[in-house]
């Protein structure tokens, strides 16, 4: 933690300590979560990046060894900042939970033998999600010095970024209280769910949505925001990923759509720079332009839908080299530049 850095920069999410990142499958939510973690770790901060679906997306994104159930440093950021990674698995979380709260040594093994751990982590509905977010909850609240309490105590992590399940499942995942409501009206699972929900709904948390400028991801973003709002969860920003660079001007795009670009002129230009203007080539280029114009028009429509949401919006350009560890750093810089971190 670098207190002097705290006041150096105003970001859109000052005060948020838990960043939850979701998005439709294929929108790149894991890479965005990784970039956000790196961005937040700038200025010497400690950030934990957590995944809960055992996909090992984080280790693959950072090109490090597969993450285990212990927190491992996976990247360095500016001025001594660090990003730690964790892949939470429900079984380990349950055994850890039992150990902390019930001081269970031998019983853990016995439970495993009887299939009770499998039961609680895969079959008992809701319990699995309570355990998974429970671990995130614990990491957000953890103090550097275990004994220190109260507002002066220094948190172990300045921020936690959760690579959450995709939009289709995220509302159910975060709505743990509802999930266990019918089952556990009282008892430890219930009180754990209550504490988690209180934190999720507090101003310490922000749920960010990653989308592409395509119909389905945008529709899911709109629907998910409405559902999250309905259950009182704090909506964060919208990150538009893989934005295409604008190469052709509006006028050229319109001309391409109307088939108003002169084939003869294009052919003459190509000849002048020694590209043989076969019919196939000229037609190909004009077809590409028309398809491109069609895509751009669709993207503009989707951008309007996103703008109408009225949420802080961040744009990440498409990385022509694909996403590797360097690409993540580039994305992190962009997010810092746009004020997200």
């Amino acid at each position: 933690m670098a207190p002097e850095a705290e006041s150096a920069r105003d970001t859109d999410w000052d005060g948020v300590r838990l960043h939850i990142v979701t998005g439709k499958g294929g929108t790149g939510k894991t890479t965005v979560a990784a970039a956000l973690a790196l961005a937040l770790a700038g200025a010497g901060r400690r950030v934990l990046l957590v995944e809960v679906e055992g996909r090992q997306g984080i280790s693959q994104t950072f090109d490090v060894a597969p993450l285990a159930s212990s927190e491992t440093r996976i990247a360095h950021a500016a001025r001594g900042g660090e990003v730690f990674g964790l892949s939470v698995d429900a079984k380990t979380a349950l055994l850890e939970y039992l150990h902390i709260f019930y001081k269970l040594g031998r019983a853990g093994g016995l439970l495993e033998k009887f299939g009770a751990i499998d039961f609680a982590t895969t079959i008992a509905p809701g319990v699995r999600d309570v355990l998974l977010i429970g671990k995130v909850y614990e990491a957000v609240r953890r103090r550097k010095n275990h004994k220190a309490k109260g507002p002066g105590a220094i948190p172990a992590y300045d921020a936690v970024v959760l690579d959450a399940p995709p939009t289709g499942r995220v509302v159910r995942f975060l709505n743990v209280n509802h999930e266990v409501a019918d089952l556990a009206r009282v008892g430890p699972i219930r009180s754990q769910a209550d504490s988690i929900t209180a934190m999720l709904k507090s101003p310490q948390t922000a749920i960010h949505l990653v989308t592409l400028l395509e119909e389905m991801p945008v529709q899911e973003t709109v629907d998910t925001i409405a559902e999250l709002r309905a259950i009182g969860m704090p909506i964060g920003g919208v990150i538009v990923n893989q934005m295409r660079e604008e190469i052709l001007t509006l006028e050229v795009l319109e001309a391409a759509t109307r088939a108003a670009i002169s084939r003869a002129d294009v052919a003459a230009d190509l000849s002048r720079v020694h590209v043989r203007p076969t019919d196939a080539l000229v037609d190909g280029l004009l077809t590409e332009a028309r398809d491109h114009a069609e895509r751009v028009a669709l993207e503009r429509d989707e951008a309007k839908v996103i703008a109408a949401l009225g949420r802080p919006t961040y744009r990440l350009p498409s990385l022509s080299e694909g996403v590797d560890a360097n690409g993540i750093r580039e994305m992190a810089e962009t997010l810092v530049g746009e004020g997200m971190a």
Partner: protein, 395 residues
């Protein structure tokens, strides 16, 4: 090295009775399943498509407006070859309820359906969707062959749930089996018996710890709900298992074909690789791979590098005359340079997609594959689905 996945041969073969589409979320699995179903129906087969969670407009294009678990005919298809197309959306809870009603005595069934634990399991248990998709497949397959002389359907196309666990259904019979045979279940369904004197002391001490811990963790009320649920389910366990085994056998039969759908992105291809290996491990009949949304350029003979240098030359030309004023918007060399730059970007994407696809093939030699070019917009009508079907068939 690469063999081509011949979709028309696959759907044209009367021996093909089930096609399962699997793959990561967001790769266009549902669209692929719908396009395959439509193409098969228009080539004369009697098809039912089972979708899990279709995008709204795609569902509408298939006439699916309500989630009611019933196959309904899709209108406006070309039925001149005698085919038909039905489509349905999976209702996970209702499917589960039907299983209970079919296998438990009426009074028991009622007891189960009213149990809070059952209600939570059937609507939110992670994995229920996978199990129920396969259960529904089993039901459709039975329904299809009810009248052997006049089968309602001769081809079932199934979309799988959009998750990493999309292949969990392969484990369903085993998981269900080990759970039902497990000591925990016996413990929950008959705690008195297990704690009895017939057991070794050590074992019963263990039982005590387990029940005490479960009570601590779950709470006494939840544990008793679970016990009631398990006791009520007891009567239908046999039927449950038999069905799961039957579905597994159905999937591994040679009349079933798995199609793994991928998109040319690192993550999606990694998942596809995982699916292919997993199916091979289970000796499931993999028909091939569909790589969806592969970017293609219309002028493939002009390389990105050549296009860029030509665009630069045109730009230099322009730079020379710019002292006389800003170039006009419709100045042809500005437009041509723009077209060339746009082409260069697209050619690079196309090349990257090709490289990714090649790597997947290299890792799984001999697996038939077909690429579907990226469409410029989303697909949400029969016309769009037909275009995808043509592409799947290599046209």
């Amino acid at each position: 090295m690469t063999s081509v996945l011949d979709i028309d041969a696959l759907i044209g073969d009367p021996q093909t009775r089930i096609i399962v589409c699997c793959g990561a979320g967001g790769v266009g699995k549902t669209t692929t399943a719908a396009a395959l179903g439509l193409r098969a129906a228009e080539s004369g087969r009697r098809v039912v498509v089972l979708t899990i969670d279709p995008a709204r407009r795609l569902a509408q294009s298939l006439g699916l407006t309500t989630l009611d678990n019933t196959p309904r005919p899709v209108r406006d298809i070309d039925d001149t070859r005698g085919g038909a197309l039905d489509a349905m959306m999976l209702d996970m809870k209702r499917t589960f309820d039907e299983v209970v009603q079919a296998h438990a005595a009426p009074d028991k069934a009622e007891q189960i359906l009213a149990n809070p634990f059952y209600q939570a399991v059937s609507s939110s248990f992670s994995g229920t969707q996978e199990y129920m998709a396969m259960e529904k497949l089993g039901q459709l397959s039975l329904e299809a062959r009810r009248d052997p002389d006049n089968p309602r359907w001769d081809l079932i196309v199934v979309d799988t749930p959009p998750s990493r666990s999309a292949l969990d259904f392969l484990d369903a019979p085993k998981r269900l089996g080990s759970f039902l045979d497990g000591r925990l279940i016996r413990l929950l369904s008959a705690p008195a018996k297990v704690g009895g004197r017939a057991y070794l002391k050590v074992f019963s001490a263990g039982v005590n710890i387990v029940t005490t811990t479960l009570t601590k963790v779950l709470g006494g009320q939840m544990l008793s709900d679970v016990q009631t649920f398990v006791a009520a389910l007891d009567t239908m366990f046999g039927g449950f298992r038999k069905r799961a085994d039957h579905t597994y056998a159905l999937l591994s039969d040679h009349s079933t074909a798995f199609i793994v759908v991928a998109a040319p992105e690192r993550d999606a291809l990694r998942e596809a690789s995982f699916f292919v290996d997993r199916l091979a491990e289970e000796e499931m009949p993999l028909a091939g791979l569909v790589i969806n949304r592969v970017y293609r350029v219309s002028a493939p003979n002009l390389s990105a590098a050549r296009a860029l240098s030509a665009a630069e030359q045109l730009g230099d030309e322009q730079g020379g005359s710019s002292s006389e004023g800003p170039p006009g918007v419709f100045d042809s060399s500005v437009i041509t340079a723009g077209l060339l730059r746009m082409h260069a970007v697209q050619a690079e994407i196309a090349a990257r997609h090709q490289a990714l696809a090649r790597r997947l093939i290299a890792g799984h030699p001999g697996i038939p594959m077909v690429e579907v070019p990226a469409a410029s917009g989303d697909i949400h009508d029969l016309v769009g689905l037909r275009t995808v079907g043509d592409a799947l068939a290599g046209h």
